[in-house]
Symmetry: C2
Subunit: 453 residues, 2 copies
């Protein structure tokens, strides 16, 4: 098997930052030590570079199948690698939603053929498919009454997951791109109380509130914070009652993070993510960005952005919500919501680390270790023996300007013109150098589906 | 004007317990002092008695008009006085709901003619009457965006209240006795964001959750805690956003009180009440009581009861949710939910004080001062100069047995057979002795409608 030795880099983990060498044998990290000699290995000199675990972006919309004029599994995963992301989790709100085993299998075949980085697939919850995607039993039982008279379903082994092959279930409580939407208590509770332990990723905006404010012509904002707060409070109560793991997608407001902190303190199995655009943009950017700043949930007030930064320790992941639309679509009379993010997340975070707004270890925690923990992804995320050799080597001092051309098919970014320091230098995917010095060495079919533990 | 001197009693207020005399001139307390000489006054010797402010029961269903075979304004208010309650707030879920100005006027006429104690009327929220009962403007405005990007409607003077004449608006989020029910976000938010500052009293059980569990045949409880928790979390979020005062009726679970405590700490304008049956009964009593123990929200687990007692300091009111049904109705195949409580609340609380489970001042706080503060009732609740002379004189040492006959027309109690210490000795309503030594001196028409400040 091929042996690759990465020498003299600075290894970044959530726990520490250390000088060290990494020996890769085949697809796997074989050894990590202060100094490794391996005369037969090919050597990458990482002097001056920081080595991160390959980033895992847990929230990506690759539009494939169904809207490949916006993005496909090749362009989207090329954008991922260009951004130092070695694994993406693809969301199910395609034009034909990924809500059945058949649709999941179809997307899997596409992803296997086209992806250049590793991937996991998320299946969509509907009002009808709780049984199909969760297994058979959904009604709570008499012996499951927990403390406080709540119904508590204990965590189960994930016997049915392997068969399904999804890493999570996505539940849309509020309408956004695509037709996936589940608002009624009955199906929501059936998904949460099913005997399955796939985490439920929630798009948490209350749909009735969204409808109300969309219709309130004098209202300043069509998707106000109350919609998010209502939905988060609701799913936290249901998660607490059922004992099911819930992951709050793209949390964006001060009150949401307080609700999540409080729930965590009570032992609710909840995790959460923030999107880079909610960290690096705000309502102050809305006028400048016009339709290119339209996203669900929307850009928030500077106070909310501040609250997210102040509570980074309680935020489990940064995930892009990469949601490409063409420039023409964005410039149309009815611009769709969403923005690309795969190529810009890590540079923006690295620059923020250079500005001491967070630590390098925070980045490793929120882009690698925690996504693995939340979604139980085997063999990913640690720079340690036995793990997949997914590594992103960055130059913290190199300056970047975010500008075209982008790898994403939509070829625009809300961050165009942003300058900073922290460039992706090399990307290694399962032992293979896929990006080096700005050149791609990855081909469609290179990506592999992640396995759950 | 008539002068009445109450001598040598022990005066109980939320702040202190003191020996003292009370001089009443006409309907009003003229003076409170350690020793008062008033040679021309009629004297009540209160030696050995404790003098409480007349209790205000903020949650009463008198069934009049519409179901006067269960209770009417005379029998219900006689039950109130017998229990040391000098003011009741009547709920709007009559068989023809009290949801319009016309229905409110009709009930007012009935109450004026029949009531033997003072009363306030609560109007019911419907999906359609937000404008009628709150005034005209309900849509949030652009200048009302508060911190955290929430819509914040500042408290308003209650210009429209006087005209309406209700002391509060009752919002049923979950179905119970009667047809009042508002579940959709749109009308709920319209009520909360209206330019009116009447408190909104919420029956907080999520109706979709109630329906789900009512249909889940294997579920051990038809109205589980999750229904209450969901609704409380929801209205707290809406109250926080709109700035409207919300009062959680008959809070009954551990998690609800935690939600309310947390909201209070954040400055949300929220108050809450517990019903005596949620303090003095639990699921352990369900088998014994049979249909007579069926109530909405249901009797809760001992852990919940314990949590309520541990958090009395955070509970604003004790209110009975007096909801009489005839014995025949309760013994029928489909027993209605609800139980009477007016005659038993204060004795049960006094006995609990004798048992050191709460203090006498706690009772005065939760049955008098706080109801006044929550509902802005003028001239009530304090034993101080200028206030209505509503006083309840009790003998803490006297033993009671809760037993028939009762003043309430339904003539039963879930507490029948309960023994304790703490009997009502005399009740004074606006300067007039209406109960003395077990005899009534109050006639229909004696009751007056409370005024809001």
């Amino acid at each position: 098997m091929e042996r690759l030795l990465i020498q003299n880099g600075t290894i970044v983990t959530p726990d520490e930052i250390m000088r060290g060498d990494i020996l890769i044998v085949g697809e796997t990290i074989a050894r990590v030590a202060p100094e490794i000699r391996a005369d037969d290995a090919r050597v990458i000199d990482a002097t001056g570079l920081h080595i991160f675990p390959g980033a895992i972006d847990a929230h990506v919309h690759l539009r494939d199948p169904g809207a490949t004029h916006k993005e496909d599994f090749t362009t989207g995963t090329r954008a991922a690698l260009a951004g130092g992301v070695t694994t993406i989790l693809d969301m199910p709100n395609n034009s034909t939603p990924t809500t059945t085993r058949a649709a999941l299998a179809e997307k899997r075949a596409i992803a296997r053929a086209r992806a250049v980085c590793d991937f996991g697939l998320v299946i969509g919850a509907t009002a009808e498919n709780a049984e199909e995607i969760n297994g058979t039993r959904t009604a709570p039982r008499a012996d499951e009454r927990g403390k406080n008279n709540l119904i508590r379903v204990p965590p189960r082994s994930s016997a049915s997951n392997d068969e399904l092959g999804a890493v999570a279930i996505k539940l849309y409580l509020g309408a956004t791109t695509g037709d996936l939407l589940v608002t009624e208590f009955d199906p929501v509770y059936r998904h949460f109380s099913a005997r399955n332990d796939l985490p439920i990723v929630v798009h948490a905006e209350d749909n009735d509130a969204l409808n109300f404010f969309a219709g309130a012509s004098r209202h300043p904002q069509k998707r106000p914070a109350i919609a998010a707060v209502l939905a988060v409070a609701r799913v936290l109560a249901i998660a607490e009652t059922t004992g099911r793991a819930v992951h709050i997608a793209h949390l964006s407001t001060a009150r949401e993070i307080e609700l999540v902190k409080d729930a965590k303190a009570r032992g609710v199995r909840v995790t959460c993510e923030v999107a880079p655009h909610h960290l690096f943009l705000s309502t102050d950017d809305e006028e400048r960005l016009g339709a290119f700043g339209i996203v669900n949930p929307p850009l928030r007030a500077p106070d909310d952005v501040r609250a997210l930064w102040q509570n980074l320790a309680h935020i489990d992941l940064v995930a892009t919500d990469h949601a490409p639309h063409t420039r023409a679509e964005k410039e149309s009379a009815k611009p769709p919501s969403g923005m690309p993010g795969l190529e810009t997340m890590l540079p923006l975070l690295l620059n923020a680390a250079n500005e001491k707004r967070l630590s390098l270890s925070d980045i490793a925690r929120m882009t690698a270790r925690n996504p693995v923990r939340v979604f139980h992804l085997a063999h990913k995320a640690e720079i340690a023996e036995g793990f997949d050799a997914d590594l992103t080597l960055v130059n913290l001092d190199a300056e970047f300007v975010i500008q075209k051309p982008f790898e994403t098919k939509c070829n625009w970014s809300p961050f165009e013109g942003t300058r900073g320091r922290g460039k992706i230098a090399r990307v290694i995917l399962r032992g293979r150098e896929v990006i080096a010095d700005g050149k791609f060495f990855a081909e469609p079919g290179n990506g592999r589906e992640v396995q759950r533990t």
